[in-house]
């Protein structure tokens, strides 16, 4: 099965992959075509400074904002379980933003920025910032997606980035002579600068390969965005290698492409770090809800099965064992009548009859606990009367029962549920409440039945119920919910407890059972 899947995924062609992201593909193709046109037509258009400088500044402000966003999202959505390479990319883009700022302010035609502005100075800033961007993308393309070894490591990344930025500013502003010459006015770019641009383009192509692998492996749209970004950034570098004048069309396009590249990176990071976690959370929530529903249904079915099983066991116990005990008892009576005047035999018969009675009593108790026959034979009112009498006899509490309305003939599951809930309530009262009396009220109309159990015991604070989930009252709520109703527990220390159970009556009710 796994092998077949692997074969199939290996068979998906490049074309199929491209089809999955039509917008991204069209964008990349369009930009490639535009670049080729500019090159083939040997466009030599040079913008006027008054047009180019504001355009350039505007594009850089936009790039700066996007770079900051990449940093802000990558840094602030940090979570110890997530891939460390995202933090690396975030820090890289912080460096990009800070150095790009220097580049924009040093461009030819801009006022003095610490030292006089010049093409050379702005090219130096620009190269450093683009190198950082390329390295950051490479990192996220190839560094395995593993969590950081320790949370503090991200601060080390941040410190390193800031140190690199400071170093770049210091060298470019105060020691430009230490750097190779990039631009000769009148002649254009030096071979070093052109070579540097191609190296950057190559780094982006390498990054693109990494993202393509990621796309094939994980089919993630985030990798698709980063792949497109890498290609567009590679175009941007190539255009940067081609320009002859700081204000010409090639340099202009190079900046446009860079803006597009940054936006794509931002989209990629936004998808993986902001949107995906929400999608995962949403999916988990749906799954959780579904499983809670399944659990509830299962629980209801189990309760029904248990009730059926109890009914069956208690019936056969009562009928088969009971009849045999009766036969034994009648036989013992026969012996007694026929052995008059034989004290030894009569003594044994006494013992026999006592044992039979004890067996019968314990059997009856077991049967009544399991499934009170009276509930099936005589209905809920008689069953509750019997239960009240039994509890009162066992615990010494006064147990009063007031039935109101037509109570017999209610559905079997409701009847059983109510009886079991009442058993639970009375058990709780006798165990915990130290009550003198309990009042049970059962009222029904056409649509619902309400049972209220009020005791005059010591009560409890609501927190105690939540804390222990105890007093068996959680089960009460669960049972009521399963039957489509509700259970309300009201209590306060010293003020007794009032439990109200409401259950809907669905089926129209027939005549009272026999």
């Amino acid at each position: 099965m796994h092998g077949v899947d692997a074969d199939r995924s290996a068979m998906t062609t490049l074309a199929e992959d491209l089809k999955r992201f039509p917008l991204l593909c069209s964008l990349v193709v369009l930009l490639a075509a535009l670049m080729l046109c500019a090159d083939l037509l040997q466009m030599k258009y040079v913008f006027h400074q008054s047009v180019f400088v504001p355009l350039h500044t505007g594009m850089h402000v936009f790039s700066l904002v996007v770079a900051w966003l990449v940093f802000a999202i990558g840094w602030n959505t940090h979570d110890p379980q997530r891939a460390g390479s995202v933090t690396l990319l975030a820090c890289g883009f912080l460096g990009v933003a800070l150095i790009d700022f220097g580049h924009a302010l040093s461009y030819a035609g801009m006022p003095e920025f610490v030292t006089p502005s010049s093409p050379e100075k702005s090219i130096n800033f620009s190269l450093v910032s683009r190198l950082l961007a390329a390295l950051a993308l490479l990192a996220i393309a190839f560094v395995p997606r593993k969590p950081l070894p320790a949370p503090a490591v991200r601060y080390a990344y941040l410190a390193t980035t800031l140190a690199l930025v400071a170093l770049a500013y210091w060298v470019v502003l105060f020691h430009p002579e230490a750097l190779p010459v990039m631009y000769v006015p009148g002649t254009g770019l030096t071979p070093f600068k052109v070579a540097a641009e191609y190296v950057l383009a190559a780094l982006h192509v390498a990054g693109a390969v990494g993202f393509y692998w990621q796309l094939r492996a994980a089919h993630s749209s985030n990798a698709a965005y980063l792949l497109a970004a890498s290609i567009v950034m590679a175009f941007s570098q190539a255009l940067n290698a081609l320009y002859a004048h700081p204000y010409d069309i090639h340099n202009f396009l190079s900046h446009v492409y860079r803006v597009v590249g940054y936006v794509l990176i931002y989209r990629g990071i936004f998808i993986s770090e902001m949107r995906e976690p929400y999608k995962v959370a949403e999916r988990l929530q749906t799954e959780l809800r579904a499983s809670a529903t399944r659990l509830r249904e299962m629980s209801a079915r189990m309760q029904q099965d248990v009730e059926e099983e109890r009914k069956r066991i208690s019936q056969s116990l009562h009928d088969e064992m009971g009849q045999n005990l009766t036969a034994l008892q009648l036989d013992a009576g026969w012996i007694r009548r026929h052995c008059d005047g034989q004290p030894v035999i009569l003594g044994v018969v006494d013992r026999m009859q006592q044992s039979i009675e004890e067996s019968a009593s314990s059997m009856r108790r077991i049967v009544a606990d399991m499934r009170p026959r009276v509930l099936d034979d005589l209905g809920i009112t008689a069953a509750i009367k019997a239960l009240a009498k039994d509890v009162s006899a066992r615990t010494g509490m006064e147990v009063a029962f007031i039935p109101q309305g037509e109570l017999d003939g209610i559905e079997d599951n409701i009847k059983t549920g109510l009886y079991r809930m009442l058993q639970e309530c009375l058990t709780n009262v006798s165990r915990h409440a130290q009550a003198k009396s309990v009042h049970i009220r059962l009222v029904a109309d056409d649509r619902e039945i309400e049972m209220r159990v009020v005791d005059d015991g010591r009560g409890f604070a609501p927190e105690a119920q939540r804390k222990h989930g105890s007093f068996g009252l959680f089960g009460l709520d669960e049972r009521a919910t399963l039957l489509g109703g509700s259970a309300l527990v009201e209590s306060a220390p010293g003020a007794g407890t009032r439990i109200t159970v409401r259950l809907p009556l669905q089926v129209s009710r027939g005549a009272a059972s026999a």
């Binding site: 009971g322 009849q323 009766t326 036969a327 009648l330 009576g333 019968a360 034979d377 026999a514």
Partner: protein
Amino acid sequence: MLVEDSIVVRRRLREILDDIQQFHIIGEFDAAQDAIAAIDAQAPDILLLDIKLRIGNGIEVLRHVRRQAPAAKVIVFSQHDDAGYREQFEQAGAQYFFNKTHETGKLVATLSQLAAG
């Protein structure tokens, strides 16, 4: 008339009644409908009745006999002795109600009394 679903118990009851000698058993039934049909044919003087039957319920037989043979003495002999049952059968007109395990002595004593009376 004996209306009781358990064969073992029925046999014991028959032996007790034979012992007392004053009784003639006009029929033994384990289902309510059969007993009701027999009551229509021949009203019993004494009805010894169980609550749970193979088919149907002792209360149906009791209600029928009260209509058809108001003079008949009805003795309910059952394992069910919850307050609810006792009350219901006494209200429906049963003269005696004995538990099958605790009150067998009382049952025999009552039968003897009825025989003597």
